[in-house]
Symmetry: none
DNA sequence: ACGGGCGGGACGACCCGTTTTT
DNA sequence: AAAAACGGGTCGTCCCGCCCGT
């Protein structure tokens, strides 16, 4: 039952959802396609199960971050790279899902959009928290920063995949976070008088 | 003939390659699936045709950029966002391709990897040119910047798609370039008074 | 156990035998398909059970009629219409069975044939009884009348079904019996003044 | 194309619609199931084709009868039995259709109902014509007679089937028509004064 | 004894890319 | 370039057997 979801997760990530047959999933856990259908009444149901489990885990992580609050949470997010490195199937699933869920009439479209919104809103929220608490500069464009962060993470994960997991994902990501945090707090640099329109 | 490639391009981007049947392509141009196969001996051949045409156009653009050279070229690249906004099918195709080409045994994998390398190397090259000509600071990590740029662009394009083309892609991208150029040329940190255009 | 047969009876009549799954039968009585199979070792066995119970009831009715004997029995049969009206599932089952049992290699074929023969022979027997007792004219073609009666009843039941149980089955059937009895007893043609109740 | 419909017609009649696979139909005409699906995009479409062809033929026959008009047409119908004897597949199809179309949510239900109505209305029309022209007694219940006729024909056809085509269908049917016509014109018998309430 | 969980094997329709024929 | 046909394969259904709780 749980192993079926595991296997499906892995295969979906590796070969795409359309590219994965129920028989293939079954084979991984010693079942036939009929056996799989016994537990999930349709392929779509299996996909949902995979997605639901994913969402749940994310929600847990998000909750943690929110409790940390503001800049601390953002600093904490910089480990994202190494987390991805340790769960490559998830990363693959995400990429694949992205493509198969692009068209608005796809059954995954909504999931994807919602997921993106969740992450975006989380980051915006953390930045705002930081601004309120004075940790973060007031003139930061929280929206753009959140969007850029998510974009970078999506993109770099993809590169990591295409490179056959060669590039040092964790390092690259940490560097982005360093730069980001630098942008958020800037004033810190004591003497100068950096100016920039916003 | 050319319209077939057009139609295929559009459909691949909208529904994925696997999700697009020859019959669907044919229908768009008033042919049956057999008719399509008359021109392209197999589906794979049609995919190649679409990809090849794409590559050619890119090569042209790249050549232009290289001629401009260094920082000027990079500045020029900031229009990427509005270009994408005007060719949404291409963007869709890219996203879709990405997912279907992830697994190393996919027929598109190589195309994808090569394409990424090309863009990466182009950016690295431009930065190096800029360093050589003194326009760009010496301590810039060309590799990381190129990678981050490509990642951001891939990621933001995806967001644009998921948002139903709502977000202001061109603006967001220009902002990233502003920041990037800022990083590349920032004349030394010590002497304050950083200034820069918007 | 008995409710399973009930449920099966109903469903077979409504959706056909092939069109009814064990799971559907089970659902009606709060069982899974496996549960049903615990009581009836195969679907065919369940069908048999339904049919057997049916036959038994009919035999009872037939016995009654035979005891009445001759014309009286035939007059008694005219209530057939209202009986059918009150047991629509049975009627449905009969129609359905008819169709699924047509081909000689069907498992129900024999049941059907035998059932038809039983009814036919019953009517022929009753008519003969009537002839012997002088109630019925000697020149009646018992065979044809029996066949025609059964045909009419089968046919009118079908119409009743197709009309969504709208037509007045009982009335129509009674009318047929009136006419039939009229034919059976019509005292010689020559002396005029034929009279008869409605 | 036309042979596919032929084969389907035959098989549907012999084994039922649900009991007939596309592969079986194909086999009869030297095709695979896929081959059949090339000509009829779905099984349902094939069924429709069979039904449509049937309807068309019937319409032709009906038109003929209407042109003959009144009693003449009814007399003409008495050949129905021998027609059926010569087209046994059609008869089988009709019986089978009946059963699979009983439930109101079946795709054939409407076809069945309409077909019945057509025949019924035809007969009623002919009787009315006969009444208008004076050939037929005025107090005949056209509705009941039409219904009874159709019922008898449906039923006797079924018996013919179940008997393995043994009974003399044509003879039996002609006899019914003789009786029917007798009922319709009755007065004819010169001397007597047959009376009967209606 | 009863009944469900689980799984499979056979088969259903239908789809898709492709070859062959016209 | 359409028409015809096919082979391979996908999801899904159905009946049924095996084993396990109660």
């Amino acid at each position: 039952m749980e192993d079926i979801v595991d296997a499906a997760h892995k295969l979906f990530g590796a070969r795409g959802i359309k590219g994965t047959t129920l028989a293939a999933v079954g084979e991984q856990v010693g079942l036939t396609d009929a056996g799989v259908l016994h537990h999930f009444s349709s392929k779509q149901a299996l996909v949902q199960a995979v997605l639901d489990r994913e969402l749940e885990q994310q929600i847990g992580q998000v909750r943690e971050l929110i409790e940390l609050g503001g800049l601390t949470a953002i600093r904490r997010m910089s480990v994202w790279g190494s987390v991805v490195e340790q769960t490559p199937e998830l990363a693959g699933l995400m990429v694949v899902l992205t493509a198969e869920g692009i068209s608005a009439d796809s059954p995954f479209h909504e999931y994807l959009v919602r997921r993106y919104e969740n992450v975006h809103d989380l980051v915006v929220g953390l930045i705002r928290q930081g601004i309120d608490s004075g940790e973060i500069r007031e003139d930061v464009d929280a929206d753009w920063e959140a969007s850029a962060l998510v974009a970078y993470l999506d993109g770099i994960r993809l590169q990591w995949f295409l490179s056959g997991r060669q590039i040092a994902l964790a390092d690259a990501v940490e560097r982005y976070f360093d730069q980001l945090i630098d942008r958020l707090v800037r004033e810190a640099q004591p003497p100068p008088s950096g100016r920039r329109k916003e």
